[in-house]
Point group: C2
Amino acid sequence: MAKKNYTLNQEQVARFAKAMGHPARVAILQFLAQQETCYFGNIHEELPIAKATVSQHLKELKEAGLIQGEVETPKVKYCINRDNWRLAQELFVEFLGQCECKKESCCE
Amino acid sequence: MAKKNYTLNQEQVARFAKAMGHPARVAILQFLAQQETCYFGNIHEELPIAKATVSQHLKELKEAGLIQGEVETPKVKYCINRDNWRLAQELFVEFLGQCECKKESCCE
DNA sequence: TATATTGTTCGCAAATATACGAACAATAAT
DNA sequence: ATTATTGTTCGTATATTTGCGAACAATATA
């Protein structure tokens, strides 16, 4: 009956994945990843949703550690959090790369 | 005012990410990726949640296209959906690889 | 001091997600 | 026919997510 808990690794993959689990947040990340300057207004312009909602999505991405923001009064500048982005990259490459299915043995 | 919609690519990344956005589902995928035989019972054994909940998570993964199942009465055999797994791999590598942050220019 | 600009936060509504036990379905074994 | 095995589905409760407008905060400008 001793069911396994989730590993820290699994939790972290899930946390990142969850943050990327909405098209608006994917769009935000994609936009930020290709910009050097990245004010809230620029992000808002790109998206078909209200600014309050954009702000919320940004907050979630920040809490997941994928982006960071700094105030440049009166604007707010956002950008990718490089360290965690790199971490996400590593985790996902490892996670998605571990499938044995390359050999044709599975489910056929 | 013409706000951009999300691209199909962004929608697909979000769909996969959302499916991977829960530790139980990450654990399931990880388990399946390393197995050749993969019955519901084996999966259930690995997880600290009720079978009804496991079944639900499997359904979501199936709907996202990441896994597939076939009945082997009285058991049910699950496995990674290879084509979509590969697609996810490609999408995430592309998505996570597009960050300009390699150059130190961003947010410093 | 009033006004404009830029975002965040609050309060709310509606939709989804998560989890469970109980009931059920399909087959196999007694 | 009853019982056991293996999973799915149903009904339900609770929590989280998503989205918006309105109100607010901080600063700059007239």
